[in-house]
């Protein structure tokens, strides 16, 4: 009995820092948010209870639903390009490649560089008036006048490229970890049976990687739906809302950018938008888990 209590005390002691931090920085604000979403509250004065009005406003808020649509385009584009490239790089680097470790480091580097730095660099590369891409294209006579990479037509495409560049190395590393867990005997047996590289990839690598891939894809989906930092820094959601994603929209409600005139925080409405946004992300993740449950039982 004494040993049991001692163990319990030790465990509690070790867990207490993270429990306290989660409670203070995670649960406590969440409770406030859950309360404020039923109130009209701008950060000062007495919050006014308005029942479900904030949710009715979310339903009729065209800008929010546009941002939801943009989020799907952004997240979809990022995932469709990032995941195959990450997997391909992981498979290549999993082989006996000269300089493989160096390449792993290089591909992973964008993950550890600050988003602010990445955003400034990509703005310098893609801006229309003196960006490197346009300068190169014009010198090669491929275009006659600057392409507006951050304009209404191409801004989302450009931002997806930035996101892909930043994410490929990260998912590559996770896939690589999964690949290294596949027993080599399987490949050796397949080789004896005369299987070529394509067949081995299709019949061994992919099925054996499925449980890891399920987790990697889920992490990628959540990160893509929540990503907004580079968008905020490069286009601020513009032009005319073409790159406004839902977390950026939410951020602007809670931390408005005041230029020239005061803009009030919309804590009540922002809380409701935050709740709906979390439900959307949760629903998509849940749906993915439902649809991908077979991946966990592939071998």
């Amino acid at each position: 009995m004494n040993l049991k209590w001692k163990r319990f005390g030790e465990n509690s002691l070790f867990l207490s820092p993270s429990i306290i931090l989660t409670a203070v920085l995670g649960v406590y604000p969440l409770i406030w948010m859950l309360r404020y979403m039923f109130y009209d509250y701008v950060g000062y004065g007495e919050p006014l209870f308005i029942g479900l009005e904030n949710f009715r406003r979310v339903m009729r808020d065209g800008l929010f639903w546009e941002s939801v649509g943009n989020t799907f385009i952004y997240a979809g584009g990022k995932l469709v390009i990032t995941l195959p490239i990450s997997l391909l790089l992981a498979v290549i680097l999993n082989g006996k490649l000269r300089g493989g470790n160096l390449l792993r480091g290089i591909y992973f580097m964008p993950t550890i560089i600050s988003t602010a730095v990445i955003s400034v660099v990509f703005y310098t590369i893609f801006n229309s008036y003196n960006g490197m891409v346009n300068t190169a294209l014009m010198k090669l006579n491929l275009v006659s006048q600057p392409v507006d990479w951050l304009g209404t037509k191409y801004a989302m495409f450009t931002l997806i490229l930035v996101a892909v560049w930043g994410a490929v190395g990260n998912y590559m590393l996770l896939f690589l970890a999964g690949l290294q867990g596949i027993p080599q005997d399987l490949y050796e047996s397949a080789s004896i049976d005369g299987a070529n590289a394509g067949r081995k990839f299709w019949n061994i690598t992919l099925p054996m990687l499925a449980p890891v891939a399920q987790l990697v894809i889920m992490l990628a989906i959540i990160a893509s739906l929540k990503g907004y930092e580079s968008i905020m820094l490069i286009t601020e959601g513009g032009p005319i809302g073409k790159t406004e994603v839902m977390y950026l929209y939410l951020y602007k409600l809670l931390f408005p950018v005041a230029t020239g005139m005061p803009v009030e925080q919309q804590l009540g409405y922002g809380s409701a938008v935050g709740f709906v946004t979390a439900v959307i992300v949760g629903a998509i993740t849940g749906l993915y888990f439902l649809l991908s449950r077979k991946m966990n039982k592939m071998y």
Partner: protein, 468 residues
């Protein structure tokens, strides 16, 4: 055993490092980026003997005048006879959030930099202490003309006093105008559209375009351009009709048509949709932009931040039809310093404020080009700043402070985003204007109902005499 000692040793070193890094603040706050009084700064021995020492915290988000303000504070710390020491903290874009956090955790500064944009909000949040009790007859007389409701006076109580303001002008490259065969800066919007087109035609092969604005944030772009075009044309610049006390974006929509035309003509710098103000200035300084509109901070910017060889100047903004029917609005005027309602040293804070509002400091502030003086007594005695381009921004017969327009947050897109969408993507301008009027007036009536703003229509309002 060895490991145990090693661990203990490391813990001690860590503790020492943490303690060393935490600094020593007389108020118990480890504030960073604080420019306290210079070393060796001491009040006079008599003062120290007579009065207990008081340390005041002064927070600002002004960076352009940091060196000068610091110098003035050091002088105050050395010379005041009340044993007061002021510590200056200069913040950046996170100023409003930092102030919020400071007030909610009872660590508020004693003196705050107040601007047109944050004063009404700080007042509503209860951060500010009225200063009426401190105002002597002399001070009242000096600032009388610039005590304004909704700017520095709320509910009949004064919370700040004026120092300087910003004028807004058309900033233009004289060489590019000359190259395109244009003699004068445009007086009407049609002339502006034509000039932008001519400059683009003459310089496009070299990457030169007629016009640009920082459209990455349409509100920032329009509030430094259309606001001024409208006030000179006889309309309030943010879409509010002072005569009816209602929002009416019809005049705004007139101006927008000309901006749309410049886009259609290809006269606007490519990529302006994602342009911030500083990259825009860098391009202007490089001689790639014919004209834009902005604040009187620009001469200082081209002196220090983006030194340029180009021949440029500031001129009055164009008006809708070329006729001046109103005064050009001086913005961010009427406020400078304020005292925190939470301050335990309000008397001392006022002593410092009184020092800062002295004639000498206000005069040099103007003469050094940190801002344009709006206090009549200072305007009379101060010399013009000796900064290239500043002559175009000085307060003249066409400039005035306007009554404040109510600030409301409507549902949906703000006016700048809605109109910029029209500029880029087209649509039904009449419908956009009607929708904006409906949403802004709805938000206004709700704000009035909640007691957040008060509106008094002034049918006799005359835009040529906005102060009556």
């Amino acid at each position: 055993m060895q490991k145990k000692w090693l661990g203990l040793g490391m813990s001690l070193i860590l503790a020492t490092v943490i303690a060393g890094c935490s600094g020593n603040d007389s108020n118990g706050n480890g504030a960073s980026a604080t420019n306290g009084p210079s070393e060796g700064t001491k009040a006079t021995p008599t003062a120290e003997a007579n009065k207990p020492p008081v340390t005041l915290k002064y927070w600002t988000d002004d960076r352009h005048d940091q060196e000068y303000i610091n110098e003035m504070i050091n002088k105050f710390n050395e010379t005041n006879e009340d044993n007061i020491k002021v510590e200056l903290t200069v913040m950046s874009e996170n100023y409003a959030q930092s102030v919020d956090i400071a007030f909610s955790s009872n660590q508020a500064p004693d003196v705050l930099r107040l601007k047109g944009a944050n004063t009404p909000v700080f007042f509503k949040k209860g951060y500010l202490e009225p200063i009426d009790g401190f105002l002597t007859d002399d001070i009242k007389a000096k600032f009388d003309k610039v005590i304004l409701d909704g700017v520095n006076r709320f509910d009949d109580k004064v919370y700040s006093l004026a120092n300087n303001g910003q004028t807004l002008r058309l900033v233009y490259n004289k060489d590019l105008f000359a190259k395109a065969g244009i003699e004068n800066p445009p007086a009407s919007l049609q002339e502006m559209v034509d000039a932008a087109k001519k400059i683009t035609e003459a310089g496009k092969s070299e990457g030169v375009y007629g016009f640009a604005l920082n459209f990455k944030n349409p509100k920032s772009a329009f509030d430094r351009s259309i606001r001024e075009i409208l006030s000179l044309s006889g309309h309030q610049g943010l879409g509010f009709d002072l005569k009816t006390g209602q929002f009416d974006f019809a005049p705004y929509s007139q101006v927008i048509e000309y901006f749309k035309q410049m886009y259609a003509d290809g006269s606007i710098l490519p990529g302006a949709e994602s342009l911030d103000i500083d990259p825009l200035r860098a391009q202007f300084a490089a001689g790639k932009i014919g004209m834009y509109l902005s604040f009187s901070t620009e001469p200082g910017v081209y002196k220090d931040q983006f030194p340029t060889e180009i021949n440029w100047g500031g001129a009055l903004a164009p008006t809708i039809d070329g006729q001046i029917k109103g005064k050009s609005e001086i913005v961010s005027a009427g406020t400078w310093l304020g005292i925190s309602a939470q301050s335990a040293n309000k008397e001392a804070a006022w002593t410092f404020m009184q020092y800062m509002y002295g004639d000498e400091i206000l005069k040099s502030y103007h003469e050094k080009g940190f801002g344009i003086a709006v206090v009549p007594a200072i305007v009379e005695q101060a010399a013009n700043p000796d900064i290239n381009g500043m002559e175009g921004f000085l307060v003249g017969e066409h400039d005035s402070i306007w009554p404040v327009a109510p600030t409301v947050t409507p549902e949906g897109a703000n006016y700048a985003d809605a109109f910029f969408k029209y500029v880029l993507a087209g649509g039904d301008l009449q419908a956009i204007t009607t929708d904006l009027n409906a949403r802004y007036n709805d938000a206004l009536s709700k704000a009035v109902e909640k007691g957040e703003v008060s509106v008094t229509p002034n049918p006799a309002f005359d835009p040529t005499k906005p102060q009556g």
